[in-house]
Amino acid sequence: MNYITPCLYAFGASLAFAIVFNIPRNKLLLSALGGMLGQLIYVVFQLVISNDVILYLLATIAISLYAEVLARLTKSPTTIYLAVALIPLVPGGGIYYTMLYFINGDIDLGISTGIHTLLISGALAVGIIMVSSTVNLVRKVMLKSKTKIRKKFKYGKNT
């Protein structure tokens, strides 16, 4: 039960964000599911891994894969799915506590929380970069091999 409720909240929040971003009506639910997926991955891997930067990285990889695949399937921009799904992973709490420690005068705690928050943001960026670059590369390799095959066929016909 403790694992399911955050996912549902993430789903609700993502759905609302999808409306704020004016996402097309027929893709609202799909994009909101992305937000839920990220949280689900985070919660599931929490049982195995204790380092939460890695957890964020895994969750981001999952949602980026989801976004890229759905974008190809529905022939729409990847941003539609990615921007919405990313929001529940944004470390809002980290930013807030960094600020709170600083105004309370706990400079050491503030710095360590701040760096932790930066690491999490870095994990989000790296996750997206890894998946998007890989998908692009795979697509280009596939395109190239397709044209090569086509050329071979043409040769075969001519000769």
Binding site: T5, P6, Y9, A10, G12, A13, L15, A16, F17, I19, V20, F21, N22, I23, P24, K27, K75, S76, P77, T78, T79, I80, L82, A83, V84, L86, I87, P88, V90, G92, G93, I95, Y96, Y97, T98, M99, L100, F102, I103, L124, A125, I128, I129, S132, S133, N136
Partner: protein
């Protein structure tokens, strides 16, 4: 299609894409694709988040260059998606100028979701994230109110064309004022959760995503611009939240 018409179509589509929250590299790519598909010999396009420059060459004609400055940006991904469809359509089958213009006008006037739904969405985001970070039902209701307040405040300020950072500072200010007051009145016990949940409405999710995607695509200029925008918005939110926290807490004893 004449060179003027061609550049006009490409420019209109690019403007809709850029001013509704598409990535910069997507704008460049689709404008280039449209120009080539409509019969241009060469098309050079340069896009930064505030400007589009396009230079088209047709066979046997003088090259034409146009510039457009983007003043207002909002987020409407329906339009981005529709323009994306249209540019794909143009590449596969030729369309004449009049139909294209009519289609672009139709996309430009697609209504977004009604206003009350946007307000409700803001309230809902704030409520859901308060629950998400471990708040109780009462906390989430305070979050709901803050969400409505932030949405109304942002719209009023954007009507007067206040800059983004100031808008976010005031948004953070509202969130933490209401939360500190609520906890001072004894309505809630964990104001931190409420504040975190309600400032999630201000998080620049699209700017973060777009900046990363622009950097991957090799568009460092736009990527860095958007990334710094996202960072500054985050700093603005934190600054806005900090003020009532340090000023009001001594009185309420939070």
């Amino acid at each position: 299609m004449t060179i003027t018409q061609l550049s006009h179509v490409a420019m209109e589509m690019g403007v809709i894409l850029l001013s509704n929250g598409a990535e910069t590299y997507r704008v460049e790519e689709s404008m280039h694709r449209i120009c080539i598909a409509l019969g241009a010999k060469e098309a050079e396009i340069f896009v930064v988040p505030t400007t589009i420059i396009i230079s088209v060459t047709l066979v046997g004609e003088v090259p034409l260059t146009r510039t457009r400055r983007i003043h207002s940006r909002k987020i409407d991904l329906t339009k981005v998606s529709e323009i994306n469809h249209l540019s794909r359509h143009i590449c596969f089958e030729p369309t004449n100028y009049k139909d294209l213009l009519a289609e672009i006008r139709r996309i430009d006037t697609i209504p977004s979701y009604p206003y009350y739904l946007h307000v409700l969405a803001f309230a809902f985001i704030s409520q859901m994230f308060t629950l998400f970070f471990g708040g109780s039902l009462m906390d989430s209701c305070v979050g709901f109110l803050i969400g409505i307040g932030i949405k109304l405040q942002m719209d009023i300020m954007s009507r007067f064309e206040a800059n983004v950072f100031f808008t976010n500072i005031v948004g953070g200010l509202i969130a933490s004022t209401v939360a500190v007051t609520a906890s001072g009145l004894g309505l809630t016990t964990n104001m931190n959760t409420i504040i975190i949940g309600s400032i999630m409405t201000l998080v620049p999710g699209l700017a973060i995503t777009n900046s990363i995607r622009d950097i991957i695509a090799g568009d460092y200029l736009s990527g860095l611009t958007k990334g710094i925008e996202a960072l500054l918005i985050g700093a603005a939110i934190a600054a806005g939240v900090a003020v009532p926290l340090s000023l009001l807490r001594p009185f309420w004893g939070g």
